[in-house]
Amino acid sequence: MADPSTVALPSPRRGVSAVLPRQWRKYVAAFRVALMAQLAYPGEVLMRSVFLLLILFIFSSLWRTTYGEMGRTTVGGFTFTQMLWYVAMTEVLILSRGRTSITIADEVRTGDFAYTLTRPFNFLLYRYAEAMGDRAVRLALNFGIASLLALLFTGGVGLDPAGAAPALLLAWAAVTLDFLLVLCVQLLAFWTEDTTAFQFIYDRLLMILGGMLLPISLFPDALAAVARALPFAAIINGPAQTAVAFHAGDLPVVALRLLLWLAAGVVVASALFRIGVRRVNANGG
């Protein structure tokens, strides 16, 4: 029998884990592992920055020409500098989504999902923690690269200092909403097996109705009203516009829309998961 005085005691927990209840530590661990995995492959992020360079170069040319031809300093409430920084911020949000969010359908199709069900964690929370760890690195790196490129192409900084803190909070809520909506699409794999087409449609709706390339303030009035009511604008246009052209009066409405869509996303994703799990057939062997 081992001498109790020689038995090693577990090392004390440090950092966030030390203050969190035990049941949350696994989600912090998932977040941390996903974050470290992204940091291990900086080359992949740098390659993506080539795409950012391409898009921002083209849009700086397009908007510079357009502003010049119109002979105006502001269009849709944006100066040229603000317009390009707006496009940069929308690209930061769109390109921050990694592959971890879109592998759930593959797991359902191959049956690997069944192994996940036996593990002692909440599937939705675990995948959220993983996705946010992955996304945090991409957001930070994309923001740095996009800001440098926007500064290079415009010669100025188009961010509104007053909007920095609200934009940061809105951006985190926006990527959470994007995660929930993508999760809803991916969970359709319980019924359709292949969700590629639905993911495609979602991404295109996000691009157009989210105001990714053209701010919603430049849409025709009727379409702008519809777009603002949909979740896509809450994900893209809301945080990006807050970052470059902050209006304190608009913030409560933007934030409320985001929160309402977040609540709806949580309810729908939870329901889809609960109903879908009952359809899982696991093959032995």
Partner: protein, 262 residues
């Protein structure tokens, strides 16, 4: 020559029949790519609703640009699937062995080894959007189809050249993807927004100028000399692609990979 054509037709027929075994996946893959293209037309529709003319180009000209690019890319990447990023993977994985072991044109066999179903959506979208938005007469439609095929030759050749970097640099998948993205992206924007220096690059290094800029000018105002220039460039880049591919092939080493072929 006829033997090559018969061989290409047989390969295409086999690939199409194989893809059509999964009809739902075939139709949905092509359909959703066409919808994706349509979303870009919606973006340009919103843009030109606000700003009707950009350096002399209208919505009709941008639609013509997209139509030629979609038709050309759809034909190239749809039927000659290995001219896309998959072509790099074939070289890097050592899957060229099969094509080297049969007594047929290696490059053609390699290019036609894969059918990319979503790109067939681009192929269908191009002429459809051109017919619906521009409403051309028969002569203009014939010219559009010819220019689209020349664009396809340029896409296949450019793709083959960038994929051939795999013979020298190993896994150049990212590079090939970025270069192809650059060609597609620059091909779908009005050339008037770029400076003279950039336009030189877009005719020399990333040949978007020959893919869409000159063709759209031809559709607006036909000039036989311009058509000859586009055709000559397409022929020239095809010859370069053949030379680069076979030169790179001399460096190819088998990966001894066992592949099941149906």
């Amino acid at each position: 020559m006829f033997g090559v054509v018969r061989f290409a037709r047989a390969l295409l027929s086999m690939n199409l029949r194989s893809a059509l075994e999964y009809r739902v996946a075939f139709v949905s893959g092509a359909l959703f790519m066409a919808i994706s293209d349509a979303m870009w037309i919606v973006f340009w529709g919103l843009f030109f609703a606000r700003f009707p003319v950009v350096r002399g180009w209208t919505l009709e000209d941008v639609v013509a640009t997209w139509a030629i690019a979609a038709f050309g890319f759809g034909f190239a990447n749809g039927f000659f699937g290995a001219s896309g990023v998959e072509g790099v993977r074939i070289i890097v994985d050592g899957r060229l062995d099969y094509h080297l072991s049969v007594p047929k044109n290696t490059m053609l066999h390699y290019l036609l080894s894969k059918l990319n179903v979503p790109s067939l959506g681009d192929l269908a979208f191009g002429p459809l959007v051109y017919l619906v938005v521009v409403r051309p007469d028969a002569g203009r439609l014939a010219l559009f189809l010819l220019l689209g095929l020349l664009a396809a030759v340029i896409f296949v050749s450019f793709g083959t050249i960038v994929n051939a970097t795999a013979f020298y640099a190993g896994n150049s998948e990212n590079l090939a993807m970025q270069m192809t993205n650059a060609l597609i992206t620059f091909s779908t924007y009005p050339p008037g927004i770029f400076s003279a220096v950039v336009k030189v690059v877009l005719f020399a290094a990333i040949p978007a100028g020959f893919v869409t800029y000159l063709p759209v000018e031809l559709l607006r105002d036909f000039d036989p000399a311009r058509l000859a220039a586009v055709a000559a460039f397409a022929a020239g880049i095809l010859l370069v692609a053949v030379a680069v591919f076979y030169r790179g092939l001399r460096r190819y080493e088998s990966g001894n990979l066992v592949v099941m072929r149906g």
